[in-house]
Symmetry: none
Subunit: 181 residues, 4 copies
């Protein structure tokens, strides 16, 4: 079952959710169709299980926002947090992406998705609010989260010629200035 989940991530990563066939996942997990349906009702069910994992990771990440805020120390905290985000995204990126796309038939998963991302946004907005920056904290935080996710995606999918270090530097600079200056 763990093997199936990991296979799911791998296959979603390389083919995307919709082109991923159960057959691909089953082969990657070196098991059989029968076994797949023993543990999951269908493809979306496996995906939901992955989403639950991601939700945990995101909750932990939200918890660990720390003293992100204005000033150099706040920027250092932000940088460290972006490192952790990148770690998480490297593994769960495909899941997050599918999750933010609405193409899924059952809205179930989609809704879960925004809720948890929303929680992260909420906490980030707290920091913006506390800093007194002249923006709508909610929306600015949302924009920042959107940017962070997309940038990670672009770098991982090599749609942008930058390595991880450059990505984090850039994000730290841009996000910090956008939210706390």
């Amino acid at each position: 079952m763990r093997r199936l989940l990991d296979a799911g991530i791998a296959v979603f990563a390389s083919r995307g959710y919709h082109s991923a066939r159960v057959d691909d996942i089953v082969k990657a997990a070196k098991t059989s169709h029968g076994t797949f349906y023993l543990y999951f009702a269908n493809k979306e069910d496996l995906f939901q299980a992955l989403v639950a994992d991601v939700a945990d990771e995101l909750a932990a990440l939200t918890e660990s926002l720390g003293a992100i805020g204005p000033g150099d120390s706040g920027r250092v905290e932000l940088r460290a947090w972006l490192e952790r985000f990148a770690d998480m995204y490297e593994h769960y990126g495909p899941v997050i992406r599918t999750w933010t796309e609405t193409e899924l038939d059952s809205t179930e998963v989609g809704r879960m998705g925004t809720d948890v991302l929303g929680d992260l946004t909420l906490r980030l907005a707290d920091r913006v609010s506390a800093a007194g920056t002249d923006v709508n904290p909610q929306l600015a935080a949302m924009a920042a989260v959107a940017m962070i996710e997309r940038f990670n995606y672009f770098v991982l999918s090599r749609q942008v010629a930058a390595n991880r270090g450059e990505m984090i530097d850039t994000l730290a600079g841009v996000v910090h200035r956008a939210l706390f200056d």
Copy 2:
């Protein structure tokens, strides 16, 4: 053929690229399967035609970046440009989204995609460079483009509770501060 292209946009918008069936498009265009295959080899072929349209729109948008830059006048220009981007995105958003996702089988389209978005990024980077902001202009511009695209998507897909005006205000503020302060 125009009817099929428009139907394509509409169906991609409501169901997403992968769940869109040729049958849906054909019905939306009030025509027949035969006619569809008269003009397009398959669904992806129609999509490529849409991408060509989007490329034109994006090129025009790139052309019209204007005097975006530091200061209040630069912010006003940015705001106006974001309005134009939002207009374009309202129509072509689904195409852009599919385009930036790598799930497509033929890399053809994907490659075109980054090229044109890359062109927009390049021009925006010029403005950042000229402003002398303390960031890697290329990457900061990329981050900004990523944020703009995603935010538009979140608002249109109602994953974020904000109206168009709030979105543009926020983006103008955040982008301007991130790139030119």
Copy 3:
């Protein structure tokens, strides 16, 4: 209409009857679908028209069997006739082949086919009968006709590495010996 018939022959020759699309014929004839259906009810109808042509050719060929029979003069006659047959087959081979295959839906054409080939066989059988060879003249004649047709086909379709001259020499020898020795 003549153009369509010739295009039909050409296309049947290169693709075979079943893979030949009306579209291929229409393009080869540099005309339109509409025009095709102005002259022919459907693909098989055009084919029947070709069959009628072939029937005429075969009737003429039957008429011209001449003094085929035992002895050297009979062999010379046979050789000359085989030349004429090869000429006809070079043009109408594809039609004859389709015709002898039963895959056509309407038996109409198929029946016509055997009738006319049957007439040729009948006349050839007369010669065999007259020669008093120790075989069933009907069947031996049929076998000879079958062999002649197939050999022409194999040579034209290059399934056998022989030129026309060698083919005719061989057929003359073999047929003459088989029927009149």
Copy 4:
């Protein structure tokens, strides 16, 4: 899978290769479309499998040519061999026919075809050569093979009013005289 192959033979025999729909084969095999595509990529793929079977049969038949040659004993051998050929043709005739027709898209099969028929021809040519008959052994053998195949076809498809016994008598007589007198 065996059931599908047999169904293929049956359907090709009754409808011919081109009018045979996968649906027909599937129904004849009392199985489903899914199963068909589990074992074969498409109709031609199944056909290739049948061709492989036929190739085996033909190779065995080639092996068993025996002491075919001049004189009465050689004629008796020939007759026996023609019986075996007729047995084989009764089962695999449709496959052989499609095989010698070039209408197939992939040349793959066509080439296999002539190769194996070519082998039979080669061995028969050996016998002709040994007999010292005054013909090109290669081509005469080819002509004989062509005649045998066609005659079997005409009799089986009832395009000629003869029973199996008459057919074999005639072929034995004609072939023997053509190749060994």
